[in-house]
């Protein structure tokens, strides 16, 4: 009975897929996760006991209701194939800080009326996303925050090195593995790949608007696409600093400090003028974040935050990289800096633990 009312992608429990994956049970989507209309998730397991997360996508069951199925299907398939190809590329290049796709394919659900083929991708199974850790901690676990920042920066840097920009980095897209000690980037649904036109090419804000940099919200003239994408990732990395220390992203922290008339929804002036009020609000937001950062890490975290989230995309990134001939938004210096800070914090934690015992 259930199957006649449900969509095919909601009925995979108990099925055996190719490569001998068995669909164990459905996993509820965490609150705030995207892509809910056409996809749902399952726990899967193979005969060797390896577990995975299956993302099932429903493209076909709604087609009979569409006036022009071919047109309706086109963007969905384009987006799916684009993400699948990117995931295959990440897997081939063995990116250690990007959630890996273990398998993909299609399965036909038996006993359904109408089209019942479901496309799926199986990912390595995470313990959860970074938000769970951000919220539960009564006191900030600085070593964990800094190590997470390091992993996130490595993940973005790995993607940039193969010509991919993530474009939608936010806490729900950072998944935790290895008893929550290892962070990896997930969801390449809004990513772009150098030299190919992504399905969301024309979007001013490809990812979640709540995390968009101010220039995107205030309608600044866009930089060349590639620079814009790298600049967006840089901003998002800085915003993760704000999120991890305060649980609030950088853009809302800036906007909260503005008078209503300067809110981007009301602003009708140009971006150059908007920078006149965005700069002090940004400086104030940085101070706010830094007050939550332990003093011994404040200087370096402050520098990274100011450089990565500068409201002016022309001033964003490390000064040495902006002055050079390479990418202004190169992340390798932040990778090193976060690694060094994380090591110090981990050392301090171990020392404190040894002193206690």
């Amino acid at each position: 009975m259930k199957k006649t009312h449900a969509h095919p992608h909601e009925c995979l429990e108990g099925l055996t897929l190719k490569s001998e994956w068995t669909v164990v049970r459905r996993i509820e989507r965490p609150p705030g996760a995207s892509g809910g209309h056409f996809s749902c998730g399952y726990l899967v397991e193979n005969p060797r006991g390896k577990k995975g997360y299956l993302k099932a996508l429903d493209f076909y069951s709604r087609l009979p209701a569409s006036k022009d199925p071919a047109r309706a299907l086109e963007p969905l398939l384009k987006a799916f194939n684009f993400e699948r190809d990117l995931l295959a590329l990440c897997r081939t290049r063995r990116l250690s800080r990007v959630v890996m796709a273990l398998d993909d394919g299609a399965v036909t659900v038996p006993g359904m009326a109408g089209p019942a083929t479901v496309q799926y991708i199986i990912f390595e199974l995470a313990d959860g996303d970074i938000r769970s850790q951000m919220k539960v901690a009564d006191r900030l676990d600085v070593a964990w925050v800094l190590r997470s920042l390091h992993h996130i920066a490595v993940g973005l840097d790995q993607l940039h090195r193969i010509g991919v920009s993530h474009q939608d980095l936010k806490p729900s897209n950072v998944l935790l593995f290895d008893e929550e000690r290892l962070s990896k980037l997930a969801d390449l649904g809004r990513a772009s790949h150098q030299g190919t036109e992504p399905p969301h090419y024309s979007f001013t804000v490809p990812g979640d608007q709540g995390y968009a940099p101010p220039e995107a919200l205030y309608g600044a003239p866009l930089l060349s696409s590639e620079a814009r994408r790298r600049g967006l990732d840089a901003y998002h990395l800085g915003s993760m600093i704000a999120s991890l220390f305060t649980t609030v992203a950088m853009t809302p922290l800036i906007i909260m400090g503005l008078e209503t008339k300067f809110h981007w929804r009301r602003w009708t002036g140009n971006y150059e003028d908007a920078l006149l009020f965005l700069r002090p609000a940004f400086a104030d937001a940085v101070d706010y974040v830094l007050a939550e950062v332990p003093e011994e890490y404040r200087r370096e975290i402050g520098e990274a935050l100011r450089q990565l989230c500068d409201p002016d995309p022309d001033h964003r990134g490390h000064p040495r990289d902006r002055a050079g001939i390479g990418s202004s938004y190169a992340l390798h210096r932040y990778v090193s800096s976060f690694n060094k800070l994380a090591r110090t914090a981990e050392y301090e934690l171990t020392r404190a633990h040894d002193d206690d015992s």
Binding site: K135, A137, D138, R139, L140, T246, T247, V248, L253, M256, G257, L258, E259, T260, D284, A285, Y288, A291, E292
Partner: protein, 121 residues
């Protein structure tokens, strides 16, 4: 610039070396709520119960926080036209006269004597 209420809460919290998460947990709110309370330019909507909890955790005087949140304590809701008129009149006095009047009233109330009849405060 944050609201006066937000600035007061934040400066006191930092003085007491209390993290966002710690205060949030203690008053049963999310850290993001505390951020909004402390950062917003406009005074955010906040209940008297929440302000009470914040005042307790930060050892602040609730009577200082309530006016900053543009709130009147529940027990001070006027019960008669006289109380409303008194409030208006006192509000028109300069600060030093208000202080003097307050001292006079406190002395008056502290005087031993029969309690005022019920319903006539």
């Amino acid at each position: 610039m944050a609201s006066k209420l937000g600035s007061k809460i934040r400066s006191t919290r930092l003085q007491r070396k209390m993290g966002l998460r710690q205060l949030a947990r203690r008053i049963g709110k999310s850290p993001a709520y505390i951020v909004e309370l402390e950062r917003s330019k406009a005074v955010p909507g906040v209940s008297e119960e929440t302000l009470e909890a914040i005042a307790r955790e930060l050892a602040l005087d609730l009577d200082v926080l309530l006016p900053l949140a543009a709130k009147t304590p529940r027990e001070l809701t006027p019960k008669s036209a006289t109380e409303v008129a008194l409030y208006r009149l006192v509000g028109q006095l300069p600060q030093d006269r208000q202080e003097a009047l307050k001292a006079e009233l406190e002395a008056e109330i502290a005087k031993p004597g029969p309690p005022p009849p019920k319903g006539k405060r």
